[in-house]
């Protein structure tokens, strides 16, 4: 046999099949023998299985239940203001408003009625009615405001104590405006979240009423505050004249003399400015966070500042949530 013939016999088709098959079989055998896991860790005693989280379904019923909770939280906040006579005392910041207890009571009735509407719609969607306040809104926002206004804050290792509010009526009236704006925005925001047109229309009409109540509150707190400054400037036929204030390194920290931060303490730093609301803040309904500023300032003059937001994943009333479980 010549040498080329011997080479050809070694690398013929049969030989290639044989090599390929052997390689594959070896790989499978090695893989089967290999054991990457060391086995389960032994338990001492009997442990519980890993809990299975319930499905966080967000459907039309959940949206309606959530709005019902928002409305009931607002109504409960107003009731608390009325019960504690927090609106009967004249406000030093808003002395012209008088006692708004009857008006705020009327606002609260609107929100109770709205909650009933949303609960009826939720039941029609095969969901359970939500008959208590929204947990997230209560615990993270409304209770925090009441606590800061009524009790202040205790001293910590890093900060001095904060006194109770110097003007609780002011803070409550601002909270009413904030909550009315929140109701309006929440009802507007749910429109693209639900799949049925009648649900959208019902939510929007509740939002319309809340928006009007927010506008009325804005006019009571800020008479003549119809539109935002930017819109007012844009509405002028001629360019508005402005007074140039020369600012340098000597007066850069000087507070503006607009009277908005007028209730500063005599010796302390100026407190956070409380912006006055306007009746028509924008050309379209806004879903941006609604800023609330209130309470007494801390040692640096910084007041409580919260961003109230429309419902989202951490504030929905899911099917596995219930008012009974909230306690």
């Amino acid at each position: 046999m010549s040498q080329p013939d011997a080479i050809q016999e070694t690398f013929n088709r049969r030989g290639l099949f044989r090599i390929g098959g052997l390689t594959t079989a070896s790989a499978i055998a090695i893989a089967a023998c290999g054991k990457s896991e060391a086995g389960e860790i032994g338990n001492i005693g009997v442990g519980q299985d890993t809990p299975k989280l319930p499905d966080a379904v967000v459907n039309n019923g959940v949206q309606m239940r959530t709005l019902a909770g928002i409305e009931l939280s607002i109504a409960a906040a107003y009731q608390r203001m009325v019960d504690d006579d927090m609106l009967a005392v004249s406000s030093t910041r808003f002395p012209a408003t008088g006692d708004l207890t009857p008006l705020i009571t009327q606002f609260g009735e609107h929100h109770i009625d709205s909650a009933a509407i949303f609960n009826d719609l939720a039941v029609a969607q095969d969901s359970e009615a939500w008959t208590c306040g929204n947990t997230r809104l209560d615990e993270a926002y409304i209770d925090v405001v009441f606590d800061r206004v009524v009790n202040g804050a205790a001293a910590t290792d890093a900060a001095k104590a904060i006194q109770p509010s110097d003007d609780p009526t002011r803070d409550m009236l601002l909270l009413v405006h904030t909550l009315e704006s929140l109701s309006a925005a929440s009802c507007q925001g749910v429109v693209p979240q639900v799949s049925e047109a009648p649900l959208r229309a019902a939510a929007a009409m509740v939002g319309v009423a809340s928006a009007r109540q927010a506008a009325l509150m804005a006019l009571l707190l800020n008479p003549g505050g119809y539109v935002s400054e930017i819109d007012a400037e844009n509405a002028q036929a001629v360019a508005a004249t402005t007074t140039l204030v020369v600012q340098n390194t000597q007066n850069i920290a000087t507070p503006s003399d607009d009277g908005a931060a007028g209730d500063n303490t005599a010796q302390g730093p100026p407190s956070t400015e409380i912006l006055l609301p306007v009746a028509i803040p924008a050309q379209f309904g806004s879903l941006a966070p609604i800023v609330y500023v209130g309470g007494a300032g801390d040692e640096n003059g910084v007041r409580l500042k919260l961003n109230f937001e429309t419902p989202s994943l951490n504030s929905f009333a899911y099917p596995f949530d219930s008012c009974a479980a909230q306690g």
Binding site: G21, A197, A204, A211, Y226, A279
Partner: protein, 223 residues
Amino acid sequence: MKTESSERGADDASMGRRALLGVGVGAAAASLLPLLTAKSSASSSSDETTTTGASEPAAPTTTAPPRRPTDDDIALLGAAQQAELTARALYDTAIEAGDWSQTEQTVITTIREAHEASAQALAGMLGGEAPGETSQSLYSSMVGGFRGSVSARLESAYNLEAAIVATHHELLRELIGTDGATLIAAIQSAEARHGTVLADLNGQTVVSTLLVQDEAVALEVNP
């Protein structure tokens, strides 16, 4: 001539080769299995569900509506744009009538601008389908109130705003696409405040009037 032993040897060799080939094909199929499984689970997870969380996906609970306006939506949104353009024209008439105070002029101009912005937003959504013109019949039926005294003009504007909000409410009952419904809701929420402002500007102090609690009738844009 083949002997028996040589035939057996040939059979053994043939069986071994077949077995090896079979093992190879089987291994190839086994290696493809995870890929196919992954594809299968990917396609099942693309189903429309409204479930969040790490547990097993729940069955779909809602049928998602379309985002873009349907053919019926386009007609409704076109009527809404005509209503907004008509409101702008009515406010133009009121402004031309004059005698406004500085504050009144600012508020009326701002509201007029808001209606124009709403019409423009609707035009942006509808594109070439947008009517882009006022409703002459609606304008003619309401323009008289926008030429009278300042107080009468403010009252007419108040009634117009209440009617526009009611019109948008009717639209929201019927709109299918979420884009159109979202825009109308944003317009309605802002325009709801106009009535309260106009009532206050006109010296009204009755709460039910300030809150526009009397139900208004929707506008007929194209009777």
